[in-house]
C-alpha cells in the first residue's frame, strides 16, 4: 500500500508477517494480537513493528514501546480521529520510533497527523489513486502556523507572539 511522509512517496521497508512468523525478516510488521509472541522470538538485529487498532490503551502499550521500532495506528475511516490522540499519548510517553497512520486519510489531515507525532501515512490503493502525492506535500504548506502549543515543530502562534514580545522588550 502506498506510503508517504512529509517529503513525498516513501519506499516500504517493512514486511507484513503472518501471525508471529517473523522468521529472520529485518523489519517485521505484526498484528497487535501476535505481538507478545513476536517479541519473544525477535533476535537482536531484527526490528519489530506493530499494527494496532485505535482502541488500544496506553497502559497496554507503554511497557512494550521500548522494544518497538514502528507503531502503525489503524484509522478505520478518515472521520475517526482517535488515532490523533493515541499518537500524541504514544509520543508523550516517550516513544521515539516511527509512527504510522494507516487508513483512508485525506490530504487535509496530513498536517494534523504530523503535528500529533506521526511520521508517515499508509493509504489504501483506492485512496492513493484519487489523491496523488503532490497533493499531500502541498497541503502541508497551506496553514503556516497553528495556535496550539506543543504540536509539531513549525512554531505556533502563541510562542511566536511571546518571542516577538521578548525581542521587543529587549530592544526597547
Amino acid at each position: 500500500m502506498p506510503l508517504l511522509d512529509r517529503h513525498g512517496a516513501k519506499a516500504e521497508i517493512w514486511t507484513r508477517s503472518e501471525g508471529a512468523a517473523i522468521d529472520n525478516l529485518s523489519h517485521a510488521l505484526v498484528d497487535w494480537a501476535a505481538l507478545p509472541e513476536a517479541l519473544a522470538q525477535k533476535t537482536r538485529d531484527q526490528r519489530i513493528g506493530v499494527v494496532i487498532p485505535n482502541t488500544v490503551r496506553i497502559p497496554e502499550l507503554k511497557l512494550l514501546m521500548r522494544q518497538l521500532s514502528l507503531i502503525a495506528i489503524s484509522f478505520p475511516s478518515f472521520g475517526d480521529g482517535r488515532g490523533f490522540s493515541l499518537a500524541r499519548l504514544i509520543r508523550n510517553h516517550g516513544f521515539t520510533g516511527t509512527l504510522r497512520a494507516s487508513g483512508p486519510l485525506i490530504v487535509d489531515q496530513f498536517a494534523y497527523a504530523l503535528a500529533c507525532g506521526f511520521d508517515e501515512v499508509e493509504l489504501p490503493q483506492a485512496s492513493a489513486a484519487r489523491q496523488p502525492v503532490e497533493q499531500w506535500v502541498n497541503a502541508l504548506g497551506q496553514i503556516s502556523h497553528g495556535y496550539q502549543r506543543g504540536y509539531g515543530d513549525s512554531g505556533n502562534i502563541l510562542d511566536r507572539r511571546r518571542s516577538a514580545r521578548l525581542k521587543h522588550a529587549a530592544a526597547g
Binding site: V107, S144, G146
Partner: protein, 556 residues
Amino acid sequence: MYRYDEFDERFVRERVAQFRDQVGRRLNGSLTEDEFKPLRLKNGVYLQLHAYMLRIAVPYGTLSSKQMRQLALIGERYDRGYGHFTTRTNLQFNWPKLRDIPDILDLLADVEMHAIQTSGNCIRNVTADHFAGVAQDEVEDPRPTAELIRQWSSLHPEFDYLPRKFKIAVTGAEHDRAVIKAHDIGLRILRHPDTREIGYEVIVGGGLGRTPMIGKVVREFLPKADLLAYLEAIMRVYNLEGRRDNKYKARVKILVHEIGTEEFSRRVEEEFARLDGPSVNADPAEVARIAAYFAPPAYETLPAISGAFEAARAGNPDFARWVETNLTPHRQPGYAALTISLKPIGAPPGDATSEQMRVVADLADEFSLSEIRVTHAQNLVLPHVKLSDLFAVWQRLGEAELATANAGLITDIIACPGLDYCALATARSIPIAQALAQRFADPVRQKEIGVLNIKISGCINACGHHHVGHIGILGLEKRGIESYQITLGGDATENAAIGEILGPGLAAEDVPDAIERIVSVYLAQRQSGESFIDNVRRIGLAPFKAAFQEVSHAVA
C-alpha cells in the same frame, strides 16, 4: 473588542485559500462528497433543502459596525438580502452558491471574520453572555476567555475529528445568560471563596437534541492559568472514549452519563495531572494581551439619572413601554444596554435584512461605540448607549421595524429555521412562531403575562432550544402531517431544567389555542407578581396537563 494581529490575519487568509483548493479537489474528483462534506462543514457550508447555507461565526456574539456592514453587503451581493441570527449567535445566509463561497470567505477575512468550525465534528463557536462587559452582576468579562478558547480550538490538530460536535460557552456572572448548562463544556468565571483568586467552575456534559441533559460540575474551581491544559485533558478523554458507533450517542453528555460524572472527572484529572502546564497553557502575558482588547471603553462621566431620558419616557407611552422591556441596566452610570428585537409580530424570528443591518451598524457607530452583540435568543444588543440618546435611537429603530417592545416576553420567540429551510427538519417552525406572535400581539396582554420564553424546534436536533423553553414546542411528523409536541417548565438559566411533555402532538392550527389555555391557567393561578416559570415550579405540571388534555381531546 479583539483586533487581529498579523498571525490571526494570515491564518484566516490561508484558511480561505485552503478551502478554495478543497473545492477544486472536490470538483476534479480527488475528494469524494463524503470526504468533502466535513471539510465544507468546517467552513460553515451546509447543504439545505433549497440551496447551500453559510453559517458565519460571530465569536462570543460580538460584532463591530464595520463587520455588520460587511454582512449586509454579502447578503446583497451573494444572497437574497437578508440573514438569520442563530441560537449560537452566528449569522446564516440561506442562498449562497458553493462557487461563490471562497469569495465570500475572503470578504469576511477583510473584516476579521470567518466561518471556521461553525459546523462539523469539532469545537464550534464559543458563545458568551451577550451583556459581557456591561452587566452589573458580572465578576469578569467572559470574552477574553472565549477569545483564547477560539484561537486554541481553531484547526486543532488533535481535536478536529471528534465523535461529534462540541460546544463551549462561558459566562462571567452568577445569572447565566449564556445557557452554559446545556453545553458540552460550560465555564462560569468566579472568585475562589477563600483566596478571591479568579478561576472557572467547569461543567461538562450538557446538551439538547435527542437526549437532553443538564451539564455536571466536574471541577468546582480551576485556576485561570490552567484553562488550556484542562480543556486539552477533557477533549483527549472525549476524543478517545466518546462513542463512535452511533451518531445519536456520540456527544460527551452520553459518555458522562454512561461512566458517571465521578469517573469522567477522575479520567480528566488523571490526564490533566500528566500534562506539563507551562508547555500547554497560554502564558499570562498572552492572556493579558487578549484581555486588554476588552477593557472598558472610554465612557463619559455621566450622572446616573438623565433628565432628558426621564422626560422622554414620561411624555411618550410607546417609548416608555419599550424602555420597560428592552433596556438592561449598565455598570456605567448614565448608560444602558438595549435589546434590538428581531421578533416583529408576524415576521420570521431572528431575521434581518441588509438594510436593517446597516441601520444597526449606523446606530452602533453613532450611539454605541461601534459595538453590537448577538444574543442566543436571536436578538441584537447595542451595549453602550447613553440614557440621553435612547429616545433618538428608539425612533431610528422604529423606522426600520427594529423597535418591537417585546424582549423576554411571549412574542420574543426563539425558532430554528425548520422545514422551510433545513434539510434535517421534520416540521416547520417559523409559521408556528408567526401564528403565536400574532395571537399574543396585544402589548397590554403581553405586559400582563410578563416574561415567558417560548422556544420552537423543527426537529429532534433542538436547534431552537425547545427543551429549555418555559414553553417548548417540537415539530415532528405524525401520519404524514406536521405534529407539534408541547413541553413545559424548561429553563435556560442557572436554574437549568428540561421541560416535560404535556401530551400528544397537535396539528399546527391547534397550537395557538393550546398556548392560550396554558397561559390562562398561569394567569388564574399566579400569586402576587409571580413569573410564569416560578408559577409552573410552584404549582407543578398537573393543572397545565389537565388544561392541555381539554384542548387535545377537543381537536382529536
